[in-house]
Amino acid sequence: MEKNEYRRKDVMSRIQYRRLLASEIFYDGEEREHLPLLEKMTAEGLLYKEPAIREEKGILQCARCGSGKPFLGEVSNCSRCGKKCLYCRACLMMGRAASCGFLYSSAVSPVQHPGLETGNLGWDGKLSAGQRQAAEKLVQCFRSGKSWEFLLWAVCGAGKTEMLFPLISEALKKGNAVMLCTPRRDVVQELEPRLKEAFPKAETAGFYGGKSPESRFCYADVAVATTHQLLRFYKAYTLIIIDEVDAFPYTMDKKLQFAAGQAAADKCMTVYVTATPSRMQQRRAASGSLESAVVSRRFHGKDLPVPRLVWAGNWKKQIENARLPKALRLFLKEAGERQVLLFVPEVSWLNPVQEALNKWQGNLRTATVHSQEEERSERVKMFREGSLDVLITTTILERGITIENVQAAVLGAENAVFTETALIQIAGRAGRSSRYPTGMVSFFHYGSTREMKRAVRTIIQLNRWNS
């Protein structure tokens, strides 16, 4: 009996703010023997339970992550239910959601809330005028207590985290736990300690794959989670901040937005922080159906570098003959001593481009990186340390590639992988620091595209605002 009481407490503390499988609630094993306890607690009105795989309008889907058909695996003779049983392969790393399993959530209010002092700000920096305006608008929206969607359009290097502090502080002071989410684990690992420092009285926690079970299910006043971990949170938050500023290339991640929708309480303010809002978001912001604030100035107050569109001719043919397009040679000469990030559309172009570079100037120190490259971090590190002149890369690039005084070039910018969003992000790599606030950005192409022109137009527009 006593043990069961203790177990009940455990269940309620793990399940607050969340929706979990029995195997997650009892992560220490003993799932089977505790199923009756979950049944009992459900009957007593403490828990809700729902099938982990559900059928909606004849379509089967995972109730946790929303994945449908190609991601539902099948066991013809399940040893739990004895029937044909489906399970979700898409969120399998979070525990196995199967047809005969259930997701449990709390039917009562959370056991823990942020205390009064948690909102005290331990950060004494100053916001720029642009940041302050945006921050005030965010706080006002939250105070109004309605369901808001808010677009915070902040250019790369605008100092977005600091802009969010007043809003987070407001929510905590009102006793509301706060969720920040981002597609990337490294961003979680970087954000969490900064929030800890900013809110010394609050409990903060970063949720990402590979953490110990105790920390996986702990309580936090301010939580920072990756997309997958966010799937564990359910109808709990009145303030969710989706940070996609440095999420590149995972912008407008549908999974993340689905997960954020699940984690939101009935009344919730959802803030999208992005450097590259979609056309739809821009239209909605312009029409007023989406609340928004634009911070078009970088923290150092200088303009974003405007990309040049440069005709490179049939660059593929030239590269195949180990020749660099003339326009690119001129760019590299102009860059002189400064380091260059050179983007190519596909992995298969990395080596040929490197060859052409070396043939052109043998003393140029070059390296290539792409997503599967084993030596990726080593090479990025070398670039950062200045022991490489040109880093040739595909669009999938470490976000950590914020490097002082780097110039950016795209070869083959007409390729479909270079969307407006991708191009703006690439342009945003240049001139980020206040020591070197300007930078060269060129898009070399064999026929300019709408995406290229839009990227340039958007950047010019951002520079015009606030000036």
């Binding site: 089977r32 190609p70 099948e74 066991v75 040893s79 739990r80 399970y87 399998l92 196995r96 199967a98």
Partner: protein, 233 residues
């Protein structure tokens, strides 16, 4: 056109045009990148346990042959248990990704027919009932889905209750003991055991025991993965 995803990395399969032709009635399960990470356990190997890079017979098998009352179980694997295979097997068995069995099911059947033609019945190594409930399926049964397999064994979790077997056999029973579900006469029959991974061979030996005791002529085994000894030979 329908896009197919690699079963392991979930990336869309890139195929040359016209790849889905009369010879290939269905798309491949794995992308070429993942497929290349599988290392076939082929070439020179121990004639009994199938350990690669061994001429004739490995030392373990020689020792076992002297010690055991019954003939050795001849075993063959599809792939070596390299880091990729390790991830694959753990995703399959511990995370419960049953679909991954499809990567091996057909080839395992082919391997068995090639190496052990004429076996009478195929028997997946069973799990303890508790394990079976936790996992939702028996990985060995799924690997045997293309065989005319029969679930003839039950697994006893209490490895200490081995009063019948001799002291020499007992140490092989750390994996638990196996019993026939129904007593039967297996004399003159060739039994084929199926499991996911072959490490020391003790599980296979333990599962073969009731068949030997029921008079089996031969017991062989196939598995998806073969762990390599640190210091072979």
């Amino acid at each position: 056109m329908k896009t197919y995803l690699c079963l392991v990395c979930h990336e869309p399969l890139k195929q040359p045009p016209g790849w889905l032709n009369v010879f290939q009635s269905r798309p491949p399960l794995l992308c070429t990148g993942c497929r290349d990470l599988l290392e076939p356990a082929a070439g020179e190997r121990c004639s009994i346990c199938g350990h690669p890079d061994v001429i004739k017979r490995c030392s373990d098998c020689a020792v076992r042959e002297k010690r055991n009352r019954f003939p050795p179980v001849v075993h063959r694997s599809l792939y070596t248990y390299n880091p990729f295979m390790k991830d694959l097997i753990s995703q399959f068995k511990y995370r419960g990704d049953a679909e991954l069995s499809l990567i091996f099911a057909d080839d395992l059947f082919k391997l068995a027919r090639r190496e052990f033609p004429g076996f009478h019945t195929a028997v997946p190594i069973p799990l303890h009932p508790t394990r079976l409930w936790e996992r939702g399926f028996n990985q060995a049964s799924l690997l045997g889905q293309k065989f005319p397999a029969e679930e003839l064994l039950i697994r006893d979790g209490l490895s200490t209750k081995q009063s019948k077997s001799s002291g020499k056999d007992r140490r092989d029973n750390a994996e638990g003991a196996f019993m026939l579900k129904h007593p039967a006469d297996w004399s003159e029959k060739h039994i084929l055991l199926i499991d996911d991974i072959y490490t020391t061979g003790s599980t296979i030996e333990a599962a073969a025991l009731p068949f030997w005791e029921a008079g089996a002529l031969r017991v062989s085994a196939v598995t998806a993965a073969r762990a390599l000894k640190k210091a072979p030979l």
